[in-house]
């Protein structure tokens, strides 16, 4: 028992060390929850009083005095969600299907295709890391100025679609990879082509995962400010066409906070934003639970 490495001697101090360290780690975990509660709690508590049915259904007015409600900003946000998701989903799902279902088989045959595939992967990875202000600059240079779309939903939507494209691609890839290979083999063995297999067997199984990606993208667009700050113009009038300017809810929070002293309304709008994000996260969790249940079954 007088072993050289005998633990008895320092076991007490090691235990103490562990206790201190674990308390700190527990504190870190709890602190993240606490920070969330403080931020969300503060915003919602301050904002709740200004949220009324009227606030949601009337348009903003009064310029810098920051009067009125937020109806037009909700509409502009929804337009942008539909627009960006509408553009990015077909492209993103298509790209995801290619990268998971086709890329390997096609790349095996040709060196050019192999290069194409790795280029595509590089594109997705890079795009995912681009900061949103750069998407904004790009949207401003290409869509607003060069293509003469002006500050408009269309210009902002195109720039916003670039933001969520990698999100859709990645979640689609994840969802497709989670579909067991046996599903595919079963279908292929029956003589179905790859596309038939993908369409009839793989995609249906992957739908909850793909939906997760779409909902995640919705969240990104609802939260985004920087891109729309430089491409959307910021008018709070009701958008009438794709070439109208507009103001999303997030942008409205920015303008109210920075340009007016209507902090209560900024808080109210921010509270609605935060609540929508909480709902969106809940939906995502629902989908991913559904997904894991399905894969488990």
């Amino acid at each position: 028992m007088n072993a050289p490495g005998s633990g008895r001697s320092n076991l007490g101090s090691r235990r103490l060390m562990q206790r201190i360290a674990f308390s700190l780690v527990w504190a870190a975990g709890s602190l993240s929850v606490l920070i969330l509660l403080i931020v969300v709690g503060y915003i919602v508590a301050k904002g709740l009083s200004s949220i009324t049915w009227q606030f949601i259904t009337t348009p903003p007015r009064g310029g810098i005095s920051g009067e009125g409600g937020i109806s037009t900003t909700i509409v502009a946000t929804l337009y942008l969600v539909v627009l960006t998701v509408g553009i990015a989903t077909p492209l993103g799902v298509g790209a995801g299907i290619y990268l998971v279902e086709y890329a390997e088989a096609m790349a095996r045959k040709s060196r050019i295709i192999r290069a194409v595939v790795s280029t595509a992967r590089f594109g997705v990875e890079t795009l995912a890391g681009v900061p949103s202000i750069i998407f904004g600059l790009f949207g401003y240079a290409l869509f607003v100025s060069s293509m003469h779309l002006g500050f408009s939903l269309l210009a902002a939507g195109l720039a916003g679609a670039c933001l969520i494209l990698p999100v859709v691609i990645r979640t689609t890839e994840e969802a497709l990879k989670a579909v067991p290979v046996s599903y595919r083999n079963g279908s292929l063995a029956l003589g179905a082509t790859r596309w038939q297999t993908t369409q009839k067997v793989v995609l249906p199984a992957a739908i909850p995962g793909i939906m997760t990606g779409i909902v995640l993208s919705v969240g990104r667009i609802v939260s985004e400010t920087a891109i729309f700050y430089v491409t959307l113009g910021g008018s709070y009038r009701m958008p009438t066409s794709l070439l109208s300017g507009g103001r999303t809810m997030a942008l409205h929070v920015y303008y109210l906070a920075m340009e007016t002293r209507a902090f209560d309304k900024a808080m109210g709008t921010a509270a609605i934003l935060v609540i929508s994000i909480i709902i969106i996260n809940a939906v995502i969790n629902l989908f991913s639970r559904k997904l894991s249940a399905r894969i488990g079954a």
């Binding site: 594109g123 900061p131 808080m267």
Partner: protein
């Protein structure tokens, strides 16, 4: 029978085109930002842009050193506050938390990632700036690096926590068991075997967090003061540098792009090019580290 396979083949190529839209977008982004920034880069010179310490567009002075300093300092501040917290969270979730607790912490961290940056900015403006103003130092306006770093620390927490937790979970169970079987405490196992084995993943997580910090815009312009100065301590205590106002590269673009014309606008695009290149470098080094690890 044949048509089925022709369809299959053409669908494959069609999907391949879709897969290439990302790289097309990257190319277009690079191309247009560079095209707009090129006049400034050629006229002013990349060297003067990167080393000039005065930014006065009215006098055609376009030095980015103040913004580079601002971005670097606010990122350092965010890392000091956020990295220990984020890694603590990751260790907690991966190794220590009982199930009920991780069922609270994990969604909380996810939600922190989802909260719009404008909301963080608003919270910073209304709560943190007045709080920072309470530090009794002459010339402290509250707006500045401290408030901005605190906001940013929370914003990078989810990125670092998620990727670090993933890296820690990738450490083979055998290492953990092998260490515990030698009579080490769980904490010793974590610090001596698990964290070293997950090191590259954690480093990558921190780098990605830094990339995210450098790219943040709206929350920054709401709390950092946007002054075009190289931050320096407000008094003899060097820590008061964090009470100084500053401006980030991203803020420089956002604050001025709407008001800029000609060479000034081009200089802002050049700022964008520099930011883009910087973040691409950072992200690809993080990816390289992660790839190294999986090998």
């Amino acid at each position: 029978m044949r048509t089925r396979f022709i369809v299959d083949k053409s669908v494959g190529y069609f999907l391949m085109l879709m897969a290439l839209t990302s790289i097309l977008a990257v190319f277009l982004i690079g191309f247009f930002t560079l095209r707009e920034g090129l006049p400034a880069i050629s006229e002013i010179g990349l060297g003067r842009l990167l080393t000039g310490s005065v930014w006065r567009p009215g006098l055609e002075e376009f030095g980015l050193v103040p913004m580079i300093a601002g971005s670097v300092l606010v990122t350092i501040g965010a890392a000091i506050l956020g990295v220990p917290l984020a890694i603590g969270c990751a260790v907690f979730l991966a190794e220590i938390a009982p199930r009920w607790m991780s069922n609270i912490v994990r969604p909380a961290v996810e939600l922190l990632a989802g909260i719009p940056s404008v909301v963080y900015g608003l919270f910073g403006m209304v709560v943190l700036v007045p709080l920072a103003r309470k530090v009794p130092v002459a010339g402290n306006s509250g707006f500045g690096l401290l408030a901005a770093s605190a906001v940013l620390a929370v914003m990078i927490l989810p990125t670092i926590t998620n990727i670090s937790e993933y890296a820690i979970r990738l450490v083979p169970r055998e290492y953990r068991e092998g260490s515990l079987a030698l009579g080490t405490t769980r904490w010793q196992t974590i610090t001596r075997v698990i964290l070293p084995s997950a090191r590259s993943g954690i480093v990558a997580a921190i780098i990605l967090g830094i990339g995210r910090a450098l790219g943040e815009t709206i929350a920054m312009i709401m709390v950092i003061g946007n002054s075009v100065i190289i931050p320096r301590p407000l008094n003899a205590n060097p820590l008061t540098i964090f009470l100084s106002q500053a401006r980030t590269l991203t803020g420089n673009i956002a604050v001025e792009i709407n008001y800029a014309t000609g060479i000034h606008e081009s200089a802002l695009f050049a700022t964008g090019v520099i930011l883009f290149v910087l973040i691409m470098l950072i992200n690809s080094s993080a990816r390289a580290i992660m790839r190294e690890r999986t090998r």
